[in-house]
Subunit: 333 residues, 2 copies
């Protein structure tokens, strides 16, 4: 089982370096396809944000792995990098996406916990990571993704922002520790108050939208069988806001990057018409040890673990462990 | 008010031709940004699908208008086409997106019902359309979008698929008429059966995903104050499917394009574990008069109107007209 694998920081570092070297060795890099499923699909989302914001020449596309394969993007070819992600490395659609990328001449990178998995075997470059509650975030799946992406930007375009990335990722560890120390009671109280609720909405924008999505589809729908939708803060005012009411619960991620005004506008409105709003604000974090021009990108990593506290509390009060499934892994589908 | 404007087919045709000529006159077209809000954001989505599938060199990005502005894509510039859409042409974020695109040297096209609107005034090219229940779909917002996109593909890359587009769009009119004639009772029965429901999920993939999204956020959340989420059929199996239960209602769009296998897989599973599934299948439509290589792209236009029948029935049985709002247009936000 992949869950007993513990990847070593020095191996991860070599793998990142090799992946970046392979990107550097390509004749051209014109686009990047980020293809995965579910929680891993969400992990890859912020990479499109970074590439959109940082690169003039490299187009990023973020697609569910099976959509990617069937859509058949014509831009996929020798000038493409395909980044895939699957924890076990066995997700069939993601394994197929890697194979599909290689068939089309792309450089395929697999981010996976298991370096011997089918996904790894179908990739040109394998980058592993560490996982669990008490890891060095520098070596998390989100951390290695950013190390690859900023490595790509450095090699292909001379972008220097990644020089501070290693130290900035490690600087997230005490930030997360502080979040955990300061929010046990508030998360617990929220879990208790919502144990009989059937639906919780999440909201976010920019790179953080993907953590709102992950919480909605993985933690709430998958692991708690609770109804949910992730609402993009920019879209909220063009339809979804009409379901806002005094008793409709929301969790809103307020980022510290360029799209913060969208989140603030969402919070201002939803807080006026719902009495049940949790606001997680990246500006409340002490990010002084994180390089200033990386802060907006990196807060998503803290948000993921911060949200997890709310899921843990909910699971506890509902007597429904996060590990329970009724369909996943239990049948063919 | 823009609602009394009735744009003429010959004017629309001239506007499309001028927009395509302006695209043809650009020195380079390297990317297309599709930026709008809510229902208009959904209208633009299928254009990314078409460009992804048809073009090797032109990268398409589909972003909420406010996300687009704040994200600040570095690829936006003289080699960009920005396509915006707003019915009234007054949506502030979309007007700003058009202005933002022009500031960066992009060619900005506005699709709007009102050729004198602020959006039109901030665009280089304005393309109007007709709207309402009994229009020629050739001149619908979705129709003019495809006419622009296939015009772009023809002019920039010699793609010939658009040659059959005008006739194929017009051929959708009798297809929709048949859908309407054959589904009054079934939509009405669904509306009656779901009048006390609080939540309905939608599902889809490929170009049709965006109609599932529009139905979810505009028809259900905005116009019926009902909870909803649009689930991507490829993502369904990686989280959301765990909320499937005997009494959880789903509406699934099964397309006739490349991603049909994703939709079929979704239907097969959801129909086994929910007793409350509506399946709208594009293969049930008589598309014999639509060019074969356009069928997969064009069914989304029928899906939009087909879904509307379910919303109309729901509104009728709930005594909640689709026009009622509690926040939109009633306050500052």
């Amino acid at each position: 089982m992949s869950d007993v694998i513990v990847n070593k920081p020095e191996d991860i570092q070599s793998q990142v370096q090799e992946a970046v070297a392979a990107i550097a060795a390509r004749e051209t890099v014109g686009n990047v396809y980020l293809a995965a499923c579910g929680g891993s699909f969400a992990v890859l989302g912020p990479a499109k944000y970074v590439l959109d914001h940082e690169s003039e020449a490299i187009a990023a596309h973020h697609l569910n792995a099976n959509e990617f394969i069937h859509r058949g993007p014509k831009g996929l070819g020798a000038k493409s990098v395909v980044i895939t992600c699957s924890h076990s490395g066995t997700t069939p659609e993601t394994v197929n996406a890697a194979a599909y990328g290689r068939e089309h001449g792309a450089l395929v990178i697999a981010i996976t916990n298991d370096p011997a998995s089918p996904l790894a075997q179908n990739a040109d470059q394998v980058v592993t990571y560490v996982h669990g509650p008490d890891i060095d975030l520098h070596d998390s799946s989100e951390g290695v993704l950013y190390r690859i992406v900023f490595g790509l930007l450095a090699e292909r375009e001379g972008n220097t922002k990644g020089q501070a990335l290693d130290a900035s990722l490690s600087a997230l560890n005490p930030v997360l520790a502080a979040v955990r120390a300061g929010n046990v009671d508030v998360a617990d109280a929220w879990g208790r108050a919502h144990k009989k609720h059937e639906l919780v909405y999440t909201m976010g924008s920019g790179s953080n939208f993907h953590e709102a999505y992950a919480f909605s589809i993985c933690l709430l729908q998958e692991m708690q069988w609770m109804h949910s939708a992730a609402i993009h803060a920019g879209e909220y005012f063009h339809g979804p806001f009409e379901i806002t009411d005094t008793d409709v619960p929301f969790i809103v991620l307020v980022g510290n990057g360029e799209t913060r005004p969208l989140d603030e506008r969402g919070v201002n409105f939803v807080s006026k018409y719902s009495d049940d709003v949790v606001v997680l604000d990246a500006e409340s974090l002490d990010l002084s040890e994180v390089a200033e021009d990386l802060r907006g990108y990196l807060s998503v990593i803290v948000f993921g673990k911060w949200l997890r506290m709310y899921a843990d509390a909910l699971a506890d009060h509902r007597g429904h462990p996060l590990s329970v499934r009724r369909y996943m892994w239990r049948m063919e589908y």
